[in-house]
């Protein structure tokens, strides 16, 4: 079992000066698991994702990606991460295939492996018909899909998606959810979102953050209404209750 843990973060904390954005957070991700990261605005979701992808150093704590320490060997560990930030990091002045080619090169893919990876990613994100178009001219939904293609291009062990379905039409949302489920078979996925039904549709496990702390961390097998849990945990003002919440619910 030990080897099937693809991502393990322990005791993560992050301070911006005096302000504490994330406090003592533990995240574990098994192979083939889709984890939903939930929380109100400002709960520390994006900060957590930036730390897990090596864009932000945690104040304390350790992160292991596929057995490699992200802080000790960032370059080796980063090979196993695919990340889609809130804003897809796409260059507007490149064409879709030029852009993906560049991303593949940055991840050290060469020759036929590169071509295959690009074709597979385009296939999975249904980008084939826009391959030769300039990214600047694509709609928001297509830019988002280019962003997802970039994240899964190098076949990473852990895929981290920050609100991947924002700006997509209902049909695309369904496709992307299907894609996330598919990715969950062989990779591990962390998904941050505000859409509760989406979490119920695709995630195996949910971790709810509030004010930088985990207030809920469990699988959704119980059949409880996620909405009820979420509101109960997040909108109660009493901090004492929030502290006891995890024990009460797990």
């Amino acid at each position: 079992m030990e080897s099937s843990i693809l991502l393990a973060a322990e005791g993560l904390s992050r301070y911006y000066g005096e302000y504490c954005a994330v406090e003592n957070l533990n995240i574990q991700l098994q192979k083939g698991e889709v984890l939903g990261l939930l929380g109100p605005n400002g709960a520390g979701k994006s900060t957590t994702m930036q730390m897990l992808t090596g864009n932000l150093a945690p104040t304390t704590g350790s992160i292991q990606i596929n057995g490699l320490d992200l802080l000790e060997e960032p370059r080796r560990a980063k090979r196993h991460i695919g990340y889609l930030p809130e804003q897809p990091p796409v260059y507007r002045d490149l064409m879709v295939n030029e852009y993906l080619d560049y991303c593949a090169k940055l991840h050290g893919l060469r020759g036929t492996a590169r071509t295959q990876a690009i074709n597979l990613a385009c296939e999975r994100c249904s980008l084939n018909e826009v391959k030769n178009r300039l990214i600047a001219n694509l709609s928001k939904g297509y830019k988002q899909r280019v962003g997802i293609a970039q994240a899964i291009l190098h076949n990473p062990a852990v895929v981290i998606l920050d609100e991947p379905t924002v700006g997509l039409d209902p049909l695309q949302i369904r496709e992307i959810r299907k894609l996330i489920r598919e990715l969950g078979q062989e990779h591990s996925v962390i998904l941050s979102t505000h859409i509760l039904p989406e979490v119920q549709a695709v995630c195996d496990r949910v971790q709810i953050l509030n004010r930088g702390r985990t207030v809920f961390n469990d699988s959704l097998a119980g059949g409880e209404s996620l909405e009820k849990i979420f509101f109960e945990l997040v909108y109660q003002e009493d901090p004492a209750l929030a502290d006891t919440a995890p024990e009460r619910l797990t």
Binding site: Y16, T53, G54, N55, L56, A57, P74, R75, R76, K78, R79, I81, Y83, P85, E86, Q87, P89, V90, Y91, R92, D93, L94, Y102, C103, K105, L106, H107, G108, Q150
Partner: protein, 253 residues
């Protein structure tokens, strides 16, 4: 090294995907062609007849060629900030920097890659510009050594502009602020040279600190290794500062 080259060539290509590089190359070439023609005309119609028959007079390479490279340096003082502002400030504004910072490459590879991409554009520009004096060799004997010194001097000057601009671009997320501050810094270094030469309060130190003083000796055809060292130190320190700045961003805000 391969990664650095990948970043450099992509940066270089991206500059040509937008009208930016094309228009800058065209405008600079047009203005410098005008300067060149003016200088050449003056030399042929006025200076050459006046100098005829005398010994040890300044030749074409001294008068026309150095003036052309001096002008190129002055014009690029205003143009370089526009090229450097995109490097990091624009990426930050478009939030595309995380593509590079998430990829399995180090910050130094990113910084050096982007810098090399810009150097490729500078080399292209100097190459185009140097075709003009080189065309003179069809009709006259050119002082090739002097031309080579001028080319090397201009390259080092522009490379130092680019390094300073790269650093200032990494400090901000507003491209305009990056451009204005780079222009300010480069202009300040020029003013430093002027004040170093001013009557009464002139100081050798100011001249030494300013990168223009070192450029001028190259234009005279003088290759002094201390000038070379000055530029290399200037470039390396700004590159290191940029790497540190981006590293710090990851550590704390």
């Amino acid at each position: 090294m391969k990664m650095i080259w990948t970043i450099a060539t992509t940066e270089f290509r991206r500059m040509f995907n937008s009208p930016l590089a094309w228009s800058i190359l065209a405008v600079v070439q047009f203005i410098l062609a005008w300067v060149f023609l003016l200088g050449l005309n003056e030399y042929v119609t006025q200076i050459q007849p006046a100098m005829a028959g005398r010994e040890n007079v300044p030749g074409l390479s001294d008068l026309v060629v150095s003036a052309l490279y001096l002008w190129a340096g002055v014009i690029m003082l205003a143009v370089m900030p526009i090229l450097t502002m995109r490097l990091f400030a624009e990426e930050r504004m478009n939030q595309t920097l995380s593509l590079l910072t998430t990829a399995p490459i180090s910050i130094s590879q990113i910084v050096v890659g982007k810098y090399l991409g810009l150097l490729l554009l500078i080399i292209t520009m100097i190459g185009m510009l140097s075709l003009m004096p080189a065309s003179l060799s069809l009709g006259t004997d050119l002082d090739w050594g002097k031309l080579a010194a001028a080319i090397l001097g201009l390259f080092l000057l522009l490379a130092s502009f680019a390094a300073a601009g790269l650093f200032l671009s990494s400090l901000t997320r507003q491209p305009i602020i990056a451009a204005v501050s780079t222009f300010g810094l480069l202009l300040f270094l020029l003013v430093l040279y002027i004040s170093g030469n001013s009557q009464g309060s002139g100081s050798q130190l100011f001249i030494y600190l300013s990168h223009f003083g070192h450029f001028l000796s190259f234009l005279e055809g003088l290759f002094d290794s201390s000038d070379l060292v000055y530029y290399l130190l200037f470039i390396i320190s700004f590159l290191l500062l940029t790497i540190r700045k981006l590293d710090n961003e990851r550590l704390q805000r």
